[in-house]
Each structure stands twice: as structure tokens, then as C-alpha cells.
Symmetry: none
Subunit: 189 residues, 4 copies
């Protein structure tokens, strides 16, 4: 919420990079300060603990994954997906960290916040799915939960594959193909 200083932005960016590349276990104050090129003590001018750095990363998640609310129903689902692909492309490392839910597992406060963010996304998409059903745009005889799992599950797997392949393919294009195929399947014929 509060404005971040340049140093704070740098700290978060480098921290995300470390987590994405080498795992949470390698996010140490020492590694982080080395990556930035200052001493360990210097970090504490900008964040008063490692924990607060992780909290700030979660703030970034939240900011990052705020929807643009463009469209409703079936169109809205597509926007939801495509917007997310765009965002992931704009910050691939952050995407990788976001999809490693285990990252925050060992801290009650962090994992709870992560849970809330994910929960928010689900509610948002389920709403769009129900809208699309009401509009008779998609099949109504498949339960919303299953549709959600297909849509988000396949997207998640695609993004994970992209991350673990070193971002080596065009996520947006593959994402479009995936969605077109899925859309055709669930569309009301």
C-alpha cells in the first residue's frame, strides 16, 4: 500500500529472483544482501526483518493479481485468463514464486494471507462461470467447481510448465490455444 522506495523495490525484486531460482531455503539475508551489493546490516534500514520482506512480497502478489474487471460471463473468463498471462509475462519470477504455494507454508501469517489471495481469485472466477451459465454461454450441466478446476487447473499447469522450462515458449500464445480449446468444449452448442 505505502509507496516503496527504490531500495525496497530492489530488495523485493532480488528476493523474488532468489526464491524463484533457488528456493525459499536460499533466501537468506546474506544471499539477498550480496545480490544487492550491500552488507547484511544495510538491509535492515529498509525492512526491519526477513519476515517483513516476505510480507511485502505478498503485498506485491496482491497488487499483481488484482483483476482489471474487463468483461463479464464467458468474455470475462477469457479476460481473466489473458490478463493473468500478460502479468505473468511481465514478471515471470514473481509468477514462479506465486505458484509455489509451499513457499510460505512454514509461517502462519504468510500462509494465511496466501490462502486469502487464492480464495479471492476463486470466488472471482466462480462468479464469472455462474454468469456465463446464466447467460447460457456455456454448458449448465457441469458443476461450477469442476469447470473452475478445468479452467484454472489447466492454466496453472501451463504456467508451471512455462516457469520450469525457463520461460522458453510463448505463454500468451499457448495460453490462447489452451483457452480456445477449452472454450469450444464448454460452450453451449
Amino acid at each position: 500500500m505505502t509507496e516503496l522506495t527504490e531500495r525496497q523495490k530492489e530488495i523485493l525484486e532480488k528476493a523474488i529472483k532468489i526464491i524463484a531460482n533457488d528456493g525459499i531455503q536460499n533466501l537468506t539475508i546474506k544471499n539477498l544482501s550480496k545480490a544487492i551489493g550491500v552488507t547484511e546490516a544495510a538491509l535492515y534500514r529498509h525492512y526491519d526483518s526477513k519476515h517483513s520482506i516476505l510480507l511485502a512480497i505478498l503485498d506485491l502478489f496482491e497488487e499483481f493479481s488484482k483483476a482489471g474487471k474487463s468483461g463479464s460471463g464467458l468474455k470475462g473468463i477469457e479476460s481473466f485468463l489473458m490478463e493473468r498471462y500478460d502479468k505473468f509475462i511481465s514478471n515471470p519470477k514473481l509468477a514462479k514464486v506465486m505458484f509455489s504455494e509451499a513457499v510460505f507454508i512454514n509461517d502462519k501469517e504468510l500462509s494465511e494471507r496466501m490462502r486469502l489471495i487464492i480464495h479471492g481469485h476463486r470466488k472471482e472466477l466462480e462468479l464469472l462461470i455462474d454468469e456465463a451459465k446464466s447467460n447460457n454461454e456455456i454448458l449448465t450441466d457441469i458443476d461450477t467447481k469442476s469447470l473452475f478446476r478445468m479452467i484454472i487447473g489447466s492454466m496453472r499447469l501451463l504456467v508451471i510448465q512455462w516457469c520450469f522450462n525457463g520461460y522458453g515458449f510463448d505463454l500468451k500464445k499457448e495460453g490462447s490455444v489452451l483457452w480456445n480449446n477449452l472454450e469450444n468444449l464448454i460452450k453451449q452448442r
Copy 2:
């Protein structure tokens, strides 16, 4: 694949439990030995390093996720999924760890092995998908990659939800519903 002693089995079981509940960061020799009820030094009688314990967990993964090869084509896909659900139910903690790919991220050897296991699964399922296409059991105008992402992606998300909900719903039943819905969508009409 040498036989595991009782103690070794106990060590792996407790290690998996710790990772699943509290994250990799809390898998320390101290925590592990405490969970088992021996001294830290005692662990080294059974495994000669923490690294080799993690390797043994990956062996378990491999063992665990070996397919029973029952059926081909569409029937094979269903068996593949249902078998997996059964296995996850039989060892929920291991399931949780398996789906946290970030767990092994910070060790080249471990993450490479993990990658290979996942790759094996993909090849296996892609084969079944192509079979089903050849048999004209499922739509042929959807690319195999997309089908794979839908099938496995939705399954993964379902299992993750199950894990993070504390195994609080009937995974097999929900998995069946999910598959039936998806099967109906992709079946040749």
C-alpha cells in the same frame, strides 16, 4: 531400490510428514530425530546424510507413482487418474509433498530427478491420449498438449485443494465427478 529397513521407512515417513505440514525449511535433522524419538546422531546409522534422505523420498515418489498399466486409450486415461487418486488417498502426506515442486528446487540432483519423474508421467499420459485419439474415442481436433494440460492440470488442482483443505473431502468421488465431466466434453460425439 534396495529394501528399506523398518527404521528407514519410519525416517522417510516422518520426514514426509514434516515437509507436508511445516515445509522443507522445517525438515532439519533435529526435528526429524525428535519426531522419531532418537538422537540426531542415530539418524546417521540409517541414512548417511540429509541429502540421501531426500533422495530416498524421491525413490518413494517414483515407486509410488508407477502406473499399474491397466487399460489403454480412454479407459487407460481413466485408470491412470483413478489409480493416482487411490494412491494419494493411501498416502496423503506424500501427495502433498509431490505437488510442491519447489520443495526440491534448491538441489540440482533432486530437482533433476523430480523433473524426470514428472516427464515420465507426461509421456505416459500423452501416449494414452494419442491412443484414444487413434481409437476415435476422443476429439482429434484438440492438440494433445492442451488435452494433457486439461486432464492433469485439473487433477493437480483438485489434489492441491484436497491437501490444503486438510484432506477434508472425498478425493475419489470429486475426482470421478471431475473426470466424468471432462470425459463427456472431450469424448467423440
Copy 3:
């Protein structure tokens, strides 16, 4: 209460020595482990924190200052004092630490326990003073609080002088002189 191991005794002894000679501020795990001749980590086999080492020192205080209950009334007061002088002589460093109440000031738990120990001593001595009054052994027209302050205050100052003079005089002898003088003053004539 629980038996101390040889190492634990050594740790406490060296810790007391450091506090007595160089102040609480110099009681660091590093200094302490160096004084003992082991690594810092080794200390944690024997006490699980610096805090618990300080608590153990307070246990020692308590043990140390338990009265032998020899005598009542005026005789009891003398015994109380002489026993204490004997104890201080038997462990001069501990005496020095005991008389630096500020040592534990910055820890709620420690300072509270210290307070209780001191309070116990006061009650004990006040009882003896009141007994001596009842027995008509000492003047009854001086309030007990004042008598307590004279007796214990002068003893404390003597011990402090002894400590800060490097234990350079005969505490027992000086203590006897002090007490004889004070006794003559307060005795019923």
C-alpha cells in the same frame, strides 16, 4: 534442583566469574565458550539458551543463600550473618554477582526471581529481630525496619567493599567486628 552435570557446573562457574569481573555486558556466549574452551555451539548441548544459564545462576543463589536455621533471636541473627560471611568466602564471585542487583534488571523473569529471594531473606531476618525483641535481648524502641536496615545494610556494604577490593581482607573477621559493635549498640542494657 535437578543435578547439574560437570559441564553445567563449569559453565555456571565461568559465567559467574565473567559477570563478577567484567559485568553482565561481557557475558556473551562467545566469551563464555572461550573461557570454557569449547565452541559456542557446544554450550547449547548443556543449556538451551543464555537465559536458562542465568536462571541456573539464580538457582545457585537460592541454594547458596538457604539458611542453616541455627539459633533464634539475637543468636539467630548472629548465625544468619556469620553463615552468610562463610558462604561468601566459599564463593566470592557468586557473592559479587548477588550484590549487583542491576545484573538481572533487564529481564522480567530474572529480576522477579531475584526480588523474591531478597524478600525471603528480609522476612527471615525480620522474624529473628522480632524474636530478639520479644526475648528482651535487644532494644524494643527501635522499629524493626530500621534495625533490619542497620544490620543488613552494614553487612551488604562490608561485602561490597570486600568484593571491590579484590577480596583483599578477612571478611569473616571484619564481619565479626562489625557485628559485635552493632550488637553492643542494640543490646538491651
Copy 4:
């Protein structure tokens, strides 16, 4: 003895407060600057090190405990005590710090100066005691050292009790009672 600026006075006052309340260990530049409401760096405009702040506190001690030289012999002793009680009441926190000799123990220069101040007081009072003896105002068969220990020891204990009780009783009144009682005991009859 150069004049202190307002800021310097404030720094010393807050430093004394911190030492009195939370112990020397909590007198850090960070805590001190926070208490004053400036940055850590700002302190160094006014004192060039933590050490020199402590030295300045000792200057204050010296200033603080300079006798008014009102009276000689027995009257002088009373004045000595009552003046001190007045001063302690006027600056209770400083009193508390002054009676925690361990505060300066870990610095050769500081502890030596403290020793000298205390030594000065002793000489001063011993002079008065000897005067009172010469005047035949007090008993001459008690050695001066013992008298000193009774007078100063009991006063010290009273002040310490006052400090650790949160200054919760009337020090002057209790001090008068104590002295009257002691005076009656040692007066030539």
C-alpha cells in the same frame, strides 16, 4: 565541567532513565536516540561516543554528590545524610544508577572514576565521624570503619529499597527515622 547544552542535558537525562529502568544493557544508541526523538547519527553531534556519554553521567554524579559542607561532627553527619536524601529525591533515576555500581564495571576508566567518587565520600564522612568522636559526641570505642559501614550501609540499603519500590515511600521521612535511631545508639550517653 564545561557547560552542557540543552540537548546534552536531555541526552544524559534520557540515558539515566534508560539505565535506571532497563539496565545498562538497554542503553543503546538506538534506544537513546529513539527516546529523544532524533536519529542515531544526530547523537554524535552532541557526544562523540557512547563512552563519552557515560563519562558525562559520571560528571553528573560527581556534581550531584558534592557536599554542601554544612556543619561538622555529629551535626555534619546528619547534614551529609539529609542533603543526600534531598538530592536523591530531586533526581531519583540518577540515584538508582549511582547505587548500581556494576553499571560501569566493564570499563576500566569509568569504574576507576566511580571508585574515586565513592572513595571521596568515604573520606569525607570518616572525617566527620572522627570529628564527632573528638568532640565526644559519639561513642569512641567503636572503630570508625564500623561506624561508617553502619551509617552509609543502612542509608544505601534504604535508598535501594526506595528505588526498587518505585520511589513509593517518603525517603526523607524514613531516612530521618533511620538516622535518629542510629544516632541515639551511637551518641555518647
